[in-house]
């Protein structure tokens, strides 16, 4: 399929230039229509920014099955006892009432790209001029031998927040004294690169308080991971001797689990465990595959506009897309959503289009008031979204700075959720 990038192609070149030419949709069906599938950091932000920016000139429908949305970011802090679950729950009331977004709580089950039509599980059909897919992740079948989604109640992934997070927390709290918590970490690329290691930190924090002789074992298919030096320093400082991380150099990539026996086999060595948090390999949310916009596990996009490389009428945001250098994170999805919203408004109503800019910062909590962060800025090139500049917390930082970093993360949470949900 040939892709006409229209006016966006030169967006990287001229600073602040007006690049859009009006490309207003035909009058056959009145207002241009945008359907957004998925109400997380990408979808909710996109819906809000398109509706807000177009001031009613674009009809925006957001399709999201959950009435109460639990953010994946900060769900580890819930597991660690630093947040209530209710504090990471959000509803779509403001998007509907204040910004005029038509919020539909249903599953999208089909996309007809020729007819430009989305079908919902309830049978409704939603026509679109532009479709935004922001469905997050699903798991790759058979990624961890012995585990499939039917085992998720015994061996939770807790990598989509909500009931899975509650289950994992309850299991940790019910561990016998001196018991074993195991995690099977995912291979790259996956949602929230520091997430599994922040989770290990939060589990260790809980166990140190209530079950100090318990052990944590992490089987990792990777030889190294995000913020590794910071986490390992923190684990040694706060949880000495509790955490055993087994990377791929030591057989961490050769794992099998048995949910009935509650055993984990790492490089042939079988261990009986009390809790097993399996985070399998990931792929784009299933609806991307159904729409036929994936190549391999992810949906490739053009950085300038976040348009699918396989269909110019579809934009894919956040964890589900492959775009280049940005990590899969809520912050990234929020940043990408704003670029997509600008491009969509430009295409449908002729509003100004500026060069795409992206940024990301990921904060992680290691223990009480011990926060660290990593971040970068990005720009769109014709090939990909490319990193411009970045920074990371340093090992050996003083306690005041770590506390300030944690407090900043709390501020960021308030900021991004009000940016997403209004």
């Amino acid at each position: 399929m040939t892709l006409n990038r229209r006016t966006f192609i030169g967006a990287g070149a001229a600073a602040a230039a007006t690049l859009s030419a009006p490309m207003v949709m035909g009058a056959s069906h009145g207002k241009p229509r945008v359907v957004v599938i998925g109400g997380g950091a990408g979808g909710a932000t996109a819906a809000r920014y398109i509706a807000k920016g177009s001031k009613g000139a674009i009809d925006v429908t957001l399709v999201e099955p959950s009435r109460s949305y639990y953010t994946c970011f900060f769900s580890n802090l819930y597991i660690g006892g630093f947040r209530e679950l209710s504090s990471i729950a959000h509803s779509y009331g403001t998007l509907a009432a204040k910004f005029g977004v038509n919020v539909v709580h249903d599953w999208a089950v089909g996309i007809d790209r020729d007819a430009k039509m989305v079908t919902l599980a309830g049978g409704a059909k939603l026509p679109y001029d532009r479709l935004v897919l922001s469905p997050g992740i699903d798991f790759v079948d058979g990624a961890v031998p012995g585990w499939d989604v039917s085992a998720q109640n015994k061996m939770p992934h807790a990598y989509k927040a909500g009931s899975q997070s509650e289950l994992l927390k309850a299991q940790i709290e019910a561990m016998p004294q001196g018991g074993t918590f195991a995690m099977v970490a995912p291979p790259n690329p996956y949602r929230c690169p520091p997430g599994p290691y922040e989770r290990v930190s939060m589990v260790a924090h809980v166990l140190k308080e209530t079950n100090p002789t318990a052990k944590i074992i992490v089987a990792d298919p990777k030889p190294k991971f995000s913020k590794m030096a910071l986490f390992q320093e923190g684990w040694a400082n706060h949880y000495e001797g509790m955490i055993d991380w087994v990377g791929s150099d030591f057989g961490g990539d050769n794992v099998e689990v048995n949910a009935d026996d509650m055993t984990v086999s790492i490089d042939g060595e079988v261990t009986k465990v009390d809790v097993c948090n399996v985070i399998p390999a990931m792929k784009a949310g299933r609806i991307c595959e159904m729409a036929g916009v994936t190549e391999g596990n992810w949906a490739p996009v053009i950085g300038h506009t976040m348009q699918s490389r396989l269909d110019e009428n579809i934009h894919v945001l956040g964890d589900a897309c492959s775009q280049g250098d940005m990590p899969k994170s809520g912050f990234s999805a929020n940043s990408q959503a704003k670029v997509a919203a600008m491009a969509i408004r430009g295409a449908l109503t002729g509003s100004k289009v500026f060069p795409a800019k992206f940024s990301n910062t990921c904060w992680s909590l290691i223990d009480t008031n011990d926060g660290v962060k990593v971040g970068a800025t990005y720009e769109a090139t014709d090939e990909k979204i490319a990193k411009v500049d970045g920074f990371i917390s340093k090992t050996g930082e003083d306690a005041d700075l770590r506390k300030a970093t944690f407090e900043e993360s709390v501020g960021w949470y308030a900021g991004i959720t009000s940016d997403m949900f209004g």
Binding site: A15, A16, Y49, F331, N334, S335, K338, M342, K352, F354, K357, S359, T361, K373, G375, A376, T377, V388, D389, G390, F391, E407, E408, S409, V410, G411, W412, Y413, A414, G415, I416, S418, D419
Partner: protein
């Protein structure tokens, strides 16, 4: 009108004198308070030549009605407190400083609070000097910080494009709340444009230390910084 005005000043001076006798000694240590004030200086000025910056100047703050300057843009919360007749007395100032967001929810003052009573008392003793003896203010040492970064008049004169600023601002609002609320990351809504421009350039040349802000400001052009300043200054 003029008469009333003079009379008011006279009355306030009287009240000030009486209060001064009662409280000046026991409020706290003004010299230590001068050091505490360093935490306020990035937003507030006090003393000779003090002007409104991100926050209003604090000359004569004692016994002034809340949100009383017509040439400063207050939050809705502080304007409502003025309508309710709130006056900045010692107790009011002290409890506000202890936990700004609890006392006046919705204030745009990005300050988590000064927990220790002694710190607050010393700070208030220091500020009190600029209220008790307004006639002495010219003699007082100016506390306005020297400009953080020297910017050329050309850079300061750039008139930002608020529409471009609005687009660029979407990078800021992932962390900084548009409505000016403060939960650990400062509000940047309704900052005076010059303060905004100076602060961003201070990050850009790494004179201010925050790594995220250094990175964000680092890739903004002079025009982009001006555009952001123009947008946030007028944001309601």
């Amino acid at each position: 009108m003029r008469l009333v005005h003079v009379a008011t000043i006279f009355w306030m001076a009287l009240v000030g004198a009486v209060q001064a006798e009662e409280n000046l000694v026991e409020i706290g240590d003004p010299e230590r308070g001068a050091k505490m004030f360093k935490r306020c200086q990035s937003c507030h000025q006090v003393g000779k030549g003090a002007r409104h910056k991100v926050g209003p100047h604090l000359n004569g703050i004692f016994f002034r009605p809340v949100a009383n300057f017509q040439d400063y843009k207050y939050s809705k919360s502080l304007n409502a407190a003025r309508t309710d007749g709130m006056i900045w007395d010692i107790e009011g100032l002290s409890s506000f400083l202890e936990h700004p967001k609890d006392v006046l929810p919705g204030t745009k003052m990005s300050f988590r609070g000064m927990k220790k009573e002694k710190d607050r008392n010393d700070l208030l003793a220091y500020l009190r000097q600029f209220s008790d003896n307004p006639q002495d203010i010219p003699e007082a040492a100016p506390t306005a910080r020297k400009v953080e970064v020297e910017l050329s008049p050309e850079i300061l004169a750039i008139v930002g494009d608020p529409e471009y600023g609005e687009y660029l601002s979407s990078e800021c609002t992932t962390c900084h709340q548009v409505d000016g609320d403060y939960d650990g990351i400062p509000s940047i809504t309704q900052w005076p444009t010059e303060e905004f421009v100076i602060a961003m350039h201070a990050y850009k040349v790494k004179q201010r230390s925050h790594p995220v802000m250094q990175m964000m400001a680092g890739r903004l052009s002079d025009e982009e910084i001006a555009a952001l300043a123009a947008y946030f200054a007028e944001l309601e």
